[in-house]
């Protein structure tokens, strides 16, 4: 038996007895980041494949939301900063070893790119779209000329952003639950899945919705595969990781994770979509909302559980 006691009265705010430094802001930001990554990714891919009309929502409509979603995410991130007036310090240095630095620069790039992308599509979504100044129009014409390059850049940065939302956490060796390389791909795929669900909700055509549903089914399948492998990895790893995995396998996070993330967020929408595909149920937006909910829960639970898990147990 081991009794480990701190006898000098450590009760530090948000540190003891376990970390609670990151509240709702970080999961919300990670969720929105993943969602934006997915939206931009699919928009750019279908644009390049010349499906701008068939997949109008995916290519043209959804990106219009991106600047707002991203701004909301960044605002959440800003709220989380303890020394807000030092925000500019993120952009005075590039720190290659810091995922947070990568993230801030990626966001710094993706935000203007996605805004241009949105503006480009705004013209076709809103027929009466006019720019107040001539130079704006000229600039946009320039963008349109290089739209393909922009699309490629977006694909690239969307993938980075999507993966980064997971890497941000997985780079923390000190928190065993986060410390798995699977978190990057998992958050990327989950981000894609939420973007597909988002698009489904916005989409006006049945065809597009069906197409998105099919891809989403694949994303969900991949996610389940990654989750299972994440736990296989933990259980095959060090004592610390085995201990950490127990948080989800009998510990306090078991019910919320398996019910809300896996059950409500993955299995049930997958089942409905399959049944829908077989025309056994009426086609609704229920699975799309469940996927969005599941994606949000995934981030909340992982952010929380990671702070709960530690080397000192």
């Amino acid at each position: 038996m081991q009794e480990l006691t701190i006898t000098s009265g450590r009760h530090m705010h948000h540190i003891d007895p376990h970390l609670t430094i990151w509240g709702w802001e970080i999961p919300v930001y990670l969720f929105l980041g993943g969602l934006v990554a997915g939206i931009l990714f699919f928009s750019a891919v279908y644009f390049l494949r010349g499906k701008s009309d068939e997949m109008r929502t995916t290519v043209r409509v959804a990106p219009l939301f991106v600047p707002f979603l991203l701004a909301t995410g960044l605002f959440a991130l800003f709220l989380d900063l303890e020394y807000k007036i030092h925000l500019f310090r993120f952009y005075t240095v590039i720190r290659l070893q810091s995922p947070m630095s990568w993230g801030s620069w990626t966001l710094g790039i993706i935000f203007p790119l996605s805004t241009l992308w949105a503006l480009m599509h705004a013209e076709s979504v809103f027929p009466n779209w006019r720019y107040p100044y001539k130079w704006m129009e000229q600039a946009m014409n320039f963008v349109k000329k290089y739209a393909k390059i922009l699309a490629w850049l977006l694909i690239y940065y969307a993938a980075i952003l999507g993966i980064y939302t997971g890497i941000l956490l997985s780079a923390f060796n000190a928190r065993p639950i986060w410390n798995t390389a699977i978190l990057g791909p998992l958050f990327l795929v989950s981000g894609f899945s939420t973007a597909l669900a988002f698009n489904m909700i916005l989409s006006k055509t049945k065809e597009e919705r069906h197409k998105l549903g099919k891809i989403d089914l694949m994303a969900i399948g991949t996610e389940l595969f990654l989750i299972i492998h994440m736990f296989m990895g933990f259980l095959a790893s060090t004592e610390i990781h085995v201990e950490a995995a127990q948080l989800f396998l009998g510990g306090p996070y078991t019910a919320p994770f398996w019910i809300f993330v896996v059950g409500v967020g993955l299995l049930i929408p997958a089942l409905i979509e399959v049944l829908d595909g077989m025309h056994k149920v009426k086609s609704t937006l229920v699975p799309a909302f469940l996927v969005l909910f599941g994606g949000l829960m995934l981030r909340f639970i992982i952010v929380d559980a990671g702070q709960f898990s530690s080397w000192i147990f």
Partner: protein, 741 residues
Amino acid sequence: MGKAFTRRDFIKISGLGLGALSLGAGFYNKSSVPQIKQIAQQAGASISGNTPTPTVCEICFWQCAGWVHTKNGEPWKITGNETDPNCNGRLCPRGTGGTGAYLDEDRLRTPLIRKVVDGKQTFVEADWDEAFTFIADKMHKIAKEHGPECIALFSHGSGGGFFKHVLRAFGSNNITAPSYAQCRGPREEAYLLTFGEGVGSPERTDLRDAKCIVLIGSHLGENMHNTQVQEFADAVGQGATVITVDPRYSTAASKSKYWLPIRPGTDIALLLSWIHVIIEEKLYDEEYVEKYTHGFEELKNEVKQYTPEWAYPITTIKPHVIRETAREMARHRPSTIIHPGRHVTWYGDDTQRSRAGAILNALLGSWGRRGGFYYANKASVPKYHYEKYPKPKKTWRDAFPDVYPLANLALANGICDATIPTAKRDCSFKGWLVYGTNLIHTLPEQKKTLEAIQNLDLLVAVDLMPSEITGYADVVLPECSYLERYDDLRELPGRVPTIALRAPAFEPKYNSKPGWWIARELAVKLGLEKYFPWKTIEEYLETRLNGVGLTLEEMRKKGVHEFEDRHPLYFEEGMEPQFDTPSGKIELWSNLLANYGFDPIPRYTAHEQPPEGYYRLIYGRAPTHTFARTTNNPILTELKSENEVWVNKNVARLHGLNNGQYVVLTNQDGERSTKIKVKVTERIRHDCVYMVHGFGHTDKRLRKGYLRGADDTKLISRVKVDPIMGGTGMRVNFVTFEPAV
């Protein structure tokens, strides 16, 4: 002025006073801040320190000398004085956190007088003159009606000397401190009976050079008596064997080669058995015993019966462990110390238990030898010359004819008892002056203390902090902290003779005043001005220091002065063995005890063990606190804000207790504690529970200590009195658990 009320209510919040108080606080803040700044400015602040002020720590009685540093006029830190052999430049956590005593916002701010307003007792803010007039009138009235001897002083702390002086000048010699009968009295008497000298404070144990240290219920490291712990660590670092006898796996136990988790209440059996082994196996220092001791044959005959096999079922310590540890002690003699302990009032036969340890030390020849007990040097600074005191007509002893014949000091609880009138006795005490001690927490049998208080005509409390005792006082006098005042010189025994100076680093905050000033002004008001020929403390100190060729200015610069004149520490270095006992030798067999009809050689008597479902309450100390005195200190409470009750894992399971949950403890008399957190642990026996003393304040004005943890004193509703010297054995209470609501 007669009694304005028949019952002294405990004033929790001073309704009237509080409003006035906060107003007053603002006023005093304004007036005192610039003065602080002024003092600080003299000391230019730099990184490694400004010009610091010398101090002597008052957070406990060890009295380490240190330096008070300020930064930008604000208190910064307190460090130890490198030249002080009583701390070696290193203070303990409490001393390091001493600025908390100054910074504590809950401090008493201004004198308070109990008055009845709208039928309700309340404290009304007063100025000093009003308070002194009130006290002087009452004291004169008591003196006139009952005699000046009917006023007693309870004193704890270095400012007490000035109040003792006032009381003696007034005509009473009834001066007491709970540190005698509630703490180390039995030890002092036992060593006096055995060696003709007490152990003293700081203890004359030569731990630094000890090769084997035996601790019996003494938890060095948790009780942070500075240099004692320093030397203990030195000894441990040098590989000394430590043998710890404790029902709890204490910090000291974790440093020990042998941990003997003894059944509480059976220590004498173990000690006698050790003596048995050491004599039977001829492991004692034959030459030393032959030369210096008296009564060896009697001892030998007496302890024949106490085999380890006899002790085993009593103590639960296995016979081979008793033998092995006895041999280990003998192997290292004379550098083996059976530590005399400090708080030794446990079971009512404490003088005898301490005697057993003293005898063991004598057999091992450790008294007066390197690594054992040294002969302490003390600086002799001439006292200030005062006029002769009037002779008191009676003393506290008159209340207790024929009992506690060997008590050399007044018993705090004795005075308390003698305040309660009985059919046989005319009431002895009518007035209490209480300086720096919260009697409600320090005296056992709380109900009795409260009853005594109801029989008083005058209760004056002089203190830094509000506490339970100030809540019952008629007049509360706010003393400033030790960082804001001069005090009398520190004169302590030690290996080298030293004195140390405490000087003020800050002006007194609020309307508080130094003890010397309060005492002097009271004396003036009592018409005893002739006993205070000096006007300021500087004048007093200068006179005393000049007596040994020093000046106040010099002492302000160095803090500590070491004297050259000293005698050797050990017999082997030429110290003349002298034993101030009837036989002139170390008394293994005590003539005095025999004369008074007590056992001349300690005997084991079985003590009551807890009934089923109950556990013996034992208590101790945390390194970060000094009793109840620091449990509101803003720095120290951050480290430990409440105490826990340690419960053996199996006991916890039996009672369905979980680690960290809160419970209420109830004792055999139905006394209930405030709620306290459970620490479920392997580190304690199954028949007792443990808690740190000093928590569970019930005075709301102590905002950081109020209802934090539990107060063990409340659960010590019965005591076993030591018939030899009147010490109150307090580990005779049993508790069980109740769910906390």
